[in-house]
Symmetry: C2
Subunit: 926 residues, 2 copies
């Protein structure tokens, strides 16, 4: 027969910490603490299996449970020296939920179970505190009638109001009638009378009597906790957190202890180390004569646990160390016991009842990134944990905060939230609003810090984006122009803040609430901010604040490099960076990049300090005859070569993957009258003609239009120019004794013949350059080592990988586009429906942020398999935005890629995620 | 040892007609005719294997060939009683190419091989016609120096001019000097002198002597024919026709016979039945005293073969039947022999040399669609062929011409081509140019036939498109708005005619030549057509002509229905039609549709006669509040229900698949000031607000934007309205004793949860309708039979088909979108690069016209497999444009789909293609 109940208390327990699946997190840790001999109020856990059986039986406790329950209660009574339902010395218990993983506040709790007309007098006599007893009874009635009698029974409130609301109103009426400010002013007699009134209301409202039998209360509360597993809130939470419905919850029935029974009673929470800094000190807060929820509620300022915890706010209050030194010593000992046992920082809850310490909970404590890093390194040094464990202790995304200055969290608490957007560029930034790129540059020259606010950005905004401390846009997603540029630079940026209406004409920013379809309306009732007003952006959370907020300088932790070098020992995946200037490449190297996995030729045009290259590219694009075009290409050539050469030089001996010009030409077409006029002058044609040529390049769906390799097939001269730049830059470096390793990557391919076509151009230019460098400088350059490969970013290319691999020495998965085309989602347009998709749980996550492993992943797996069938040693990488996402990196490790590539500031994140993947998933590498 | 040479002649042959792979089509049929005892000039075929060995050896005839060649020549000499190189009685031969499948004019031929200084006198003596002999020698020199000495040797012409051009100029100079109008006026002596001049020019130009040795000439001509397999023209042709390079060509060496040796000589071509009508008469033309090319060249009007072939043009000329009754009788007998043998209509070439009949070629004859149908039915009746053979005799695309009036091909020959575009809507149309929808309607009312010319069309042009005889657009592809609408109506339409510049403002049409990048320039030097000018469109070829061309009325062939019903017996795939009005559905039924596979709710808005529904849809779209929207939906509802009900009624007992609203709402937004004003009045908001709301709906990549099921998730009220219309229409029909079979299809899904969401809405509305129809009319409607399914048109949906099939009772492959997303090709934008892709052989065909079986096909196969794993009896269809393409239909049959769906006018094509697929590919059906 299945055992449903697992007792704990008195130095022993039926279960232990390893049984979280069966006992839930709370129950397993209570059992473990009991085994460790810690003072846990005696109790038992009813298993998650019982929960599943409960639902299987249609919401009925299994018959076999009853006998076990009686035996378990008997054990509690024995340990506690009290008796459930006893008129003289009654035992009270709580029924609390506890799932395998924490679902805070999502399920129900019933306290003070066992209080009834029979036990109240005895408890009054025992405690000498009738108010305390009636208040406890009041709480039981309120919780029980709500949770057990109404919700668990599925009673639809007659008048639309739940019983809880009725009782709350009655309690408030009483206080109003009497002019009381708090519950404490209610007399015991009044409280007792209120309990009677409550019970009458319950009969009236629910049609049943409040149960006066302790056993009935106990069974009711157990069933109600189980039932709350399928409550609305819990189900929604599980959807979001991907917790399976089949896990079920355990119920923990535990004898009640009270921290509010006088001056020798207290309650508190503590962390075994400082969760903010990681410092190895005991850190916590407590309140004398109080209940657990009082600490959390924040009505009273909690006392410091000890001297180490004292701060400006609480230094005047006595610490537990000072007030109850013996108890504190006992607690400090428990801290050591728990840390040695769990080998990780613990978050604990305790209650002191009339001088007696009880442990109510322990679990792994949440911590900041810095704390996580410091603790992990300390514990490694202390011999508590080994290296793989240490590497796993830091969530890769927590590295972010160590690499950028951040908004001071304390300052943020009291600040006015302006708007919520998408966290596109990390860190914090504070400055004055400007609305144009020109103004940003101008204000910066005057020594001001500015925040550039735009509807959305385009390449013409680059100068202003460079000049700004932070960027805020009303439109665009995580992979919009602003987001890509900002992330590449590691610049603070918030995009897609839809509640903003930007009136650049008026130099005003209106903040409105969201409208319906076609919501392009005016901004009546909006808050208005003007040029020069201060804003603070938190690019890590996507929240923009009004005004100037304090920033925290997050200088690199000295332990950071040491931690990363240990992580690197375990890593299998290589990590490269996406960069297109020598400056960015240098930054990437500093963060540990092992190559450039994506040099986007077109990014150069908005990455460099001069506007000249962009102007020349526009000339190329708007040229009409091949002759005009070749002239413009010749002018553009030195700029391209310079950036390529500089990047190859910086990355010496490390590979640099050059992606050929990719985006629709129309993206670079000039929209401003000024630039149009300048081009008109340069090209010697009138401005109407410039506008006409620009219009001719417009496309209905540019993302699936004339771009990538398609440009190189219609305009081979543009591709040839790039090959020439790559090979001449390399040849010059080789002559200078360097070791450039260029890799040529063809974008947006769908067909092996596109590769054949492009490879032929490449080979021709290569031969020309080799000849040229032979003839002018003797015989020193026999060859330029290079590789030729392709992006896999179109579904067809993935499906045809056996053919693509015939001509490509490497594949790089462009998961941004692959996601767009696999889903049929334009990343620029998902704003209109993505929220509804997430809200309705149709998608678990934005697939542009985290790789869709099911379908996009299956295309990658097909591609890897087919590619290797043709070319067993093919090099495989990923260079989409997902290259910096830990979950996606784990996937890349599992499918056996060679490297991931991400923006420079994500390189440490990727290194750590790759190390953790290698530790947690051993795979057979090809 | 491999046998390279296969002799034929004298009633026997080494090869036969089944050996086309080895002997080429020409050689195999020559052998077959020889075996049949027909008078074939003796000769031999050098096999395609020899061709491959020739290239394998780097362009050298295999050593083993020489001995075989000598033996083979000896046999010809014996049969012909002449000797190769003999001064008295010389044998002349021809060397002709002949590949497995016909490549007309793509490879080389050398005639009169064996003429040299040694044999000329003997031949003159034999023929008594020195002019004839020197003219033959002149031809040999011109052909041989060009084909063998220059091209095959890869000689680059020194002065950029080939030898052929030089010799042509010399011949012309001679005629000009003498004032001769034709070659015939040149004297024998002059001709002889010209030959000598030719030979000197050859030495001067090519640096080698013209060979005077017959054997050298023979070997040279054989090598040159082989070499021409890899000539530029032949290679390009093979790319286009998908002929593998490995096939190689055979060489046919055959003794020369001359039809120009006097009045008892002649030459002719004939078909064993009439290739235009299929009538069972012997049909052909001949010329006395002439060579083969004279018949083809069209300089002289050829004589009719017999009385049956006489026409207005040639009735005055003697027929062969009259001129040479014995020879004609012999030829008529051969006709019967060939038809009984090949059991198909043959295209033959013959030469009569001094009263002796020779057969030079026979092959299966090309024929019109009508002829193919009639012949096939006749031959079935005659017992020549069986039913499956008959069904295979008609190319499905040939059915097109039987269903639409067409441009008279004779008229087209001499007409001025205005522009080439894409053949978007079938048949022909002739009318006067108009530039706006309004004008089209107005002119039509005045009784004029008009051609509507537009940059591209949109829903606002519907009235004008209806009114026009034909539609011509400058932009858009085969699946653009104009193409889809026109094809749906079976209306003549040409789209994407890029050389047109349409100045609707001036009511002018400019035809220009293509420019470079950004070619949006003016139209200097363009031809200009104005409103009211006549145009003729051939929608089947995509050619537009200036002026009024004669049309041919192609009324339905009486044998058509009989033919189709025999084809249907063999068909396995069901054929449905895409239609969204009762009228179109009726048309589809008439063409044999077995259901509606695609009822596009949004097409209704431009398919009906009133503008009201479109106006109401615009109201829905531009509504801002849910209340406004619901009001507009309520107004729209009756229109939607009416079309749905009418279609269900017409299709009674046959399924109708309703696709929920699919396209981006922005497509329906009003662009004309007039409509905007009207909407502004109706909605009670100002016009600027209307414009703002419209702009807010604009998307960067609408094809991957807010459309399909995504609309239904953000605006469930729009989906609910459609469900209500479907179920209420069905319920009303059931009440009236009908049997509607609605199927609900969800578009643009990528995720099973989208189906769960939509199914829930569907079930709710279904229950409501069932309840409603129960309560108001007793208990007669217990249920409405219906199915719930999804399009598979997003790659992710295909990859996730195991999940999709959990909720979908059927899949319908939307191969238009699936192709777009699998390739990353926007069908609206491929114009800028598709030509370069085809020209560079990167793609064999436009994947929107013929299904890409490799990759898109593999997604379909994955989907079929995964879908059936979950739901073995899942219904599978295709409703993209490919549903009417024969090659794609064959693919659908092979992967085991249930049905294809195409526009009504394609239904017969699809039925025939499906029947042929079933006959040619037996598959295990699920």
């Amino acid at each position: 027969m299945t055992q449903y109940i697992y007792n704990f208390g008195g130095g022993r327990a039926d279960g232990n910490a390893s049984q979280k699946n069966l006992l839930g997190g709370k129950g397993a840790n209570l059992a473990e603490m009991a085994i460790l001999g810690l003072p846990v109020p005696s109790g038992f856990t009813i298993s998650t299996e019982c929960c599943n059986d409960y639902f299987r039986a249609g919401g009925k406790l299994p018959d076999a449970l009853y006998a076990e329950l009686d035996a378990a209660m008997l054990k509690i009574e024995q340990f506690m020296g009290k008796k459930f339902g006893d008129p003289k010395n009654p035992l009270l218990v709580s029924s609390r939920s506890g799932a395998r993983s924490s679902m805070p506040g999502m399920m129900e709790t019933v306290l003070n179970v066992g209080l009834c007309s029979a036990t109240i007098p005895g408890l009054i006599e025992q405690t000498g505190n009738p108010w305390f007893v009636y208040d406890a009874y009041r709480r039981l009635i309120m919780m029980y009638s709500d949770v057990v009698m109404e919700k668990a029974e599925g009673v639809e409130p007659k008048d639309g109001m739940g019983i809880r609301l009725h009782l709350d109103m009655m309690l408030n009426d009483l206080k109003n009638d009497r002019g009381y400010a708090s519950d404490a002013e209610i007399t015991a007699k009044e409280m007792s009378a209120l309990c009677d009134k409550f019970k009458r209301k319950i009969v009236e409202h629910l049609g049943v009597e409040f149960p006066d039998d302790p056993r009935e209360q106990l069974l009711g509360s157990i069933g109600a906790v189980f039932k709350s597993w399928n409550g609305k809130r819990a189900v929604s939470y599980r959807r979001i957190e991907h917790i399976p419905d089949t896990w079920g919850t355990a119920v923990n029935v535990q004898s009640m202890v009270f921290g509010n029974m006088g001056e020798t009673s207290a309650t508190g929470v503590a962390f075994t180390r400082n969760p903010a800094t990681g410092a190895n000190i005991f850190y916590g807060e407590w309140l004398p004569n109080a209940q657990g929820e009082d600490v959390v509620a924040g009505i009273r300022t909690p006392n410091p646990l000890n001297n180490d915890t004292k701060s400006d706010h609480n230094a005047h209050l006595p610490s537990l160390e000072e007030a109850m030194p013996e108890i504190y010593k006992e607690l400090a000992h428990i801290r050591t016991t728990l840390e040695n046992h769990y080998r990780d920082m613990q978050d604990i809850e305790f209650t002191i009842e009339q001088g007696e310490l009880y442990m109510l909970q322990c679990r792994v404590g949440k911590r900041t990134g810095t704390a996580a890093l410091n603790m992990a390194m300390d514990m490694l040094e202390e011999g508590l944990i080994d290296e793989p464990t240490m590497v796993n202790r830091l969530n890769p995304t927590q590295l972010d905060e160590m690499l950028h200055p951040v908004v001071d969290p304390d300052a943020a608490k009291s600040a006015e939230v302006l708007v919520n957007g998408l966290p596109a560029g990390p860190g914090g930034a504070c400055g004055q609003i400007v609305f144009t790129s020109e103004d940003a540059v101008y204000w910066k020259k005057k020594g001001k810090a500015v925040i550039l606010v735009r509807e959305e950005t385009n390449p013409e905004d680059i100068e202003g984006m460079r000049a700004a401390k932070g960027i805020l846009t009303a439109r665009g997603g995580m992979t919009s122009h602003a987001a890509l540029v900002a992330r590449g630079w590691g610049k603070c940026c918030i995009v897609g803040a839809g509640a903003l209406k930007i009136r650049a004409d008026l130099k005003e920013l209106h903040v409105v609430s969201a409208g319906g379809v076609g919501s392009g309306s005016g901004s009546s009732g909006a808050k208005i901010y003007k040029e020069g007003d201060f804003l603070t952006l938190n690019g890590t959370t996507g929240i923009a604040y009004a005004g100037k907020l304090k920033m925290k300088d997050a200088t690199a932790n000295p332990k950071f490099k040491q931690f990363m070098s240990i992580a690197d020992k375990y890593r299998v995946l290589k990590v490269r960076a996406n960069a297109e200037t020598p400056k960015d490449a240098a930054q990437a190297l500093e963060f540990g990049a092992e190559g450039i996995g994506l040099f986007r030729t077109e990014h150069m045009f908005y990455g460099v300090d001069s506007e000249k290259p962009l102007f020349l590219l526009r000339k190329v694009i708007l040229s009409k005859t091949p002759h005009e075009r070749q002239m413009a290409l010749d002018e553009l050539y030195p700029f391209i070569k310079k950036e390529m050469k500089g990047t190859l030089e910086i990355m010496d001996t490390k590979p640099v993957t050059f992606r050929l010009l990719d985006p629709p030409l129309h993206e670079f077409v000039p929209h401003s009258r000024e630039t149009q006029e300048e081009l008109s002058k340069e090209l010697g044609i009138d401005i109407e003609e410039i506008q006409k040529r620009s219009q001719a390049l417009e496309e209905v769906n540019p993302m699936m239009g004339h771009r990538g390799v398609r440009l190189g097939i219609t305009f081979p001269e543009i591709t040839r120019m790039q090959f020439k730049a790559i090979f001449e830059a390399s040849a010059e470096l080789i002559k200078a004794g360097k070791n450039p390793l260029p890799e040529i990557m063809v974008p947006v391919t769908c067909n092996e013949k596109e590769l054949i076509f492009t490879k032929k151009l490449c080979d021709q230019v290569y031969e020309d350059v080799i000849k040229e460098f032979k003839s002018c400088s003797g015989d020193q350059i026999a060859s330029i080592p290079h590789q030729f490969g392709t992006m896999i970013e179109v579904p067809r290319a993935a499906l045809m990988s056996h053919k693509m691999a015939e001509h490509a020495e490497f594949f790089s998965f462009g998961t941004n586009d692959l996601t767009q085309m696999t889903f049929g989602f334009s990343r620029d347009d998902i704003g209109s429906f993505m929220n509804d998709y997430i809200d309705n749980a149709i998608l678990d996550a934005d697939p542009f942020a985290t790789l869709d492993q099911e379908a996009v992943g299956s295309l990658i797996e097909i591609s890897v398999k087919k590619g290797r069938e043709t070319r067993p040693n093919i090099k495989l990488g990923i260079c989409g935005e997902h290259g910096g996402d830990p979950a996606s990196i784990e996937f890349c490790h599992k499918v056996g890629l060679t490297y991931v590539s991400c923006s420079p500031y994500r390189v440490p994140v990727a290194r750590l995620a790759a190390a953790q993947a290698a530790i947690n998933y051993k795979i057979d590498r090809y």
